[in-house]
Amino acid sequence: MLKVSALSVTYGGLHALDAVSLDVQEGEFITILGPNGAGKTTLLKAISGALPMVAGQIEYRGRDIGRLPSHARAGLGIAHVPEGRRVFPTLTVLENLVMGSYRAAARARRAETLETVFALFPILRERQRQVAGSLSGGEQQMLALGRGLMAQPDLLLLDEPSQGLGPRIVETIFEVIAEIRRSRRITILLVEQRVVEALELCDRGYVLETGQVVLHGDREALLRDERVQHAYLGA
């Protein structure tokens, strides 16, 4: 479904991503691991078009999307939930969610999706008339994820959805993600610092370090890998 080949991204002449390649099948759940500064966020941004690439190719369903602007990629069904709660602070919760569903495929089923999102995050239903800027950090995070789901995406790019959330909400978030995964309708690329949970959910994973893929494999292989155990699982 998604094929990234030899992708390079630079900031000010220095490589943030250096010839990264990865392959994602329809319906797969991929997790991306790596320390701070490894380029995980950059990778998601390059795929969604938020950052330009300097070399390589991004193929989505057989189509070269590497030069498309981000709104065109969103139109093809790629939804990016960036880290750090990028909600529209002066719009209400409901308006934020509706903003997520302007893609033709999503607009038709807006009411239905909205119900699903509210069922997943009841607090958002309670607060739907409140402006997003007045939500707490964690609620904004839920709103950002909810907005991503409103797009009825085929490929969902999740950047640290659990960041800054309390343990119980994190549980909820991971339950939501597991739920999405069970349906197998949405392909997911997840960047997460909560490695245990992320690995539990994923089919396969990639480990990035200083802008390069240093390891990839299926869940069992990664869980068995000594380096992963040492660096990320604390074994």
Partner: protein, 595 residues
């Protein structure tokens, strides 16, 4: 010291070169008309520099700077007409009047955020114009005085005016230079980038803005008075309070680049001769076309150098200093002096107390009747579900928010209602959930903003900031811009900035959020070391496995209320806390640990 000497010299050199260039031009130029262009160039460069102090450095946009220009011109001329006072003294009176006028607008508007200041400045010259008309000063001519003409600033030789304007320009250029190097300059840049963060780092933003505005009001009055003598001869409201004055000032700054002493000079040196020459050449043959060419030049500059020519050239020469940390070596972890464990005894003295604090937003009760103490030398964890009011509580403690009821005491004294910068100066520092960097300041300069609270002199603050960076292991990042730094680097930078204010208590809002395993260990080692050095820590955090190892005590908030308090082992077994916050998974995990 040789370093300070060479710093002095490097500061004096451009100043000396500018003075020399001004003198050479003054005496090399032969035609009266060219003298006029030189005078105008320096007049608008000076106006630009003045505007730049409040709007470039401090980021408070003034649309009415001609008010001060006009006040200077009118006060000076009216003093000649009515009292026969020499303009040399009159223009100082004009400058004082302009500063007073600045205080009158600044005082009510600088306490409000955003656009009020700009709106007020827009109205000011309009009011003054009407006022002058009302007083019957539609046209005030400077009386001709033949004998002792120099006493009345009346010269036949245009070079005299050139020199006069040159002196004024050099003075304001030097003032700008001094501001850029001073504590005020750093603080202005910081508050321009992020005002709440600056306040929390001990910057009295209101006073800084007032100081900048007063400093930027005096020179236009002087230059207005000189302009009246050198160019106008007859002062009208339109000529000194009119749109043309502010438009020239803005054009000079936008073309040259705001935020640097070189920008307005560069802008004036290009745009003023250009418009004058166009008037003379093209304008003579095709009347009106000079405006079109001038406008086109302006559009071109805006397209190719939207930040101004100075920043464009500088960017080409220096290159951007932001770099992805991915390409840098991972930071050496800050000498992890084997985690000084709970050895530090807390003597139980309350350092900070909250008594019945409540805060609501539009009827939503964010914090309700919360009382707790932070004890000297402890690490206090504050936990609770998202939206429980933890950050709101921090905002009340550090002065961002005023509680509806209740009181906060620091070392027994009430601090409720104090502004954040006062609370910071008392020794209470804080960091933010989403890092609030000053993006156009380097990492070192970011930290210096905090260091200036304790050291007024720039070299001292620089040394303090460098030391704070070194202690945290971030010295290799000192000269980078925050853009492109990793989450860990940014969180460390913010911690260093907070530590540079020399706090005895720090409020850390989710310092571990977004950090990987290694990052969490680095940050935890640092927090433990802070405590070992005698700093008390209150920390909001969701990373429970880390917090239970770190904190001496936990307090738990839920729906704005305090629901539990005690040592971590006890609190994390509390059924109410598990129900509200930790969840079943945590329970299973904890039982697994116990088994």
């Amino acid at each position: 010291m040789p370093t300070t000497l060479s710093r002095r010299a490097s500061a004096l050199l451009p100043f000396a070169l500018l003075a020399l260039a001004g003198l050479v031009l003054t005496f090399a130029i032969q035609e009266r008309y060219h003298h006029r262009i030189l005078t105008l160039t320096l007049v608008w460069a000076t106006m630009g520099l003045s505007w730049n102090i409040i709007s470039g450095y401090a980021g408070q946009i003034s649309f009415g700077h001609q008010a001060f220009f006009g006040i200077g011109a009118y006060v000076t001329i009216l003093l000649i007409v009515h009292l026969g006072l020499t303009p040399w003294i009159g223009m100082l009176v004009g400058a004082a009047a302009a500063v007073l006028a600045a205080v009158l607008i600044g005082f009510p508007t600088f306490r409000l955020a955003g656009i009020y200041f700009a709106l007020a400045t827009l109205a000011y010259p309009l009011i003054l114009r009407i006022f002058m008309d009302f007083l019957g000063y539609q046209e005030v001519a400077i009386p001709m005085i033949r004998e002792r003409a120099w006493v009345y600033m009346q010269f036949l030789d245009p070079r005299a005016y050139n020199l006069l304007v040159l002196a004024a320009f050099l003075a304001v250029f030097w003032l700008s230079h001094a501001i850029e190097r001073s504590r005020l300059g750093y603080w202005l840049r910081a508050l321009k980038e992020n005002e709440p963060a600056a306040e929390a780092m001990g910057v009295d933003t209101f006073r800084c803005k007032m100081a900048a505005y007063m400093l930027s009001a005096a020179p236009p009055a002087i230059i207005g008075a000189i302009y009246a003598h050198a160019v106008l001869f007859v002062v009208t409201p339109d000529a000194v309070f009119g749109l043309l004055v502010i438009v020239q000032t803005l054009v000079v700054c936008l073309v040259g680049g705001a935020g640097s002493k070189w920008g307005p000079l560069l802008g004036a040196a290009i745009m003023v001769p250009l418009s004058e020459t166009l008037d003379m050449t093209l304008g003579d043959r095709f009347p009106g076309i000079q405006g079109i060419v001038y406008g086109a030049a302006l559009v071109l500059v805006m397209l190719f150098a939207p930040e101004g020519l100075y920043w464009r050239f500088r960017g080409l020469l220096v290159g951007r200093r932001s770099a992805p940390a991915a390409a840098l070596q991972p930071i050496a972890s800050p000498q992890p002096d084997a985690a000084a464990p709970r050895a530090v005894a807390t003597d139980g003295t309350p350092i900070l107390e909250a008594h019945g604090v409540s805060k609501a937003f539009l009827g939503l009760r964010a914090v309700e009747d919360v009382s707790f103490v932070v004890r000297q030398g402890e690490i206090l964890g504050i936990i609770g579900p998202n939206g429980a009011g933890k950050t709101t509580l921090f905002n009340v403690l550090n002065g961002f928010l005023l509680p509806e009821s209740g009181e906060v005491r620091h070392r027994g004294q009430p601090i409720t209602g104090l502004r954040p910068n006062r609370i910071c100066r008392r020794g209470i520092g804080r960091t933010f959930q989403v890092v609030r960097a000053f993006p156009h300041l380097t990492v070192l300069e970011n930290v210096m903003v905090g260091a200036f609270v304790r050291d007024a002199a720039e070299p001292d603050a620089r040394a303090r900031a460098s030391a704070a960076l070194a202690r945290i292991g971030l010295e290799t990042r000192a000269d980078l811009l925050p853009t492109g730094l990793t989450t860990l680097d940014l969180r460390l930078m913010e911690l260093a900035r907070c530590m540079a204010t020399a706090p005895e208590l720090v409020l850390l809002d989710e310092p571990l959020a977004g950090l990987g395993r290694d990052g969490i260990e680095v940050m935890m080692a640092l927090i433990r070391r802070l405590r070992a050095e005698g700093v008390t820590v209150a920390i909001i955090e969701h990373t429970m496995h880390a917090l239970v190892r770190l904190a001496d005590r936990l307090v738990v908030l839920d729906h704005g209320r305090l629901i539990a308090e005690g040592p971590p082992a006890q609190v994390t077994r509390d059924p109410a806390v598990i129900e509200a916050y930790l969840g079943k998974r945590w329970l299973r995990h904890a039982e697994g640990l116990r088994a």
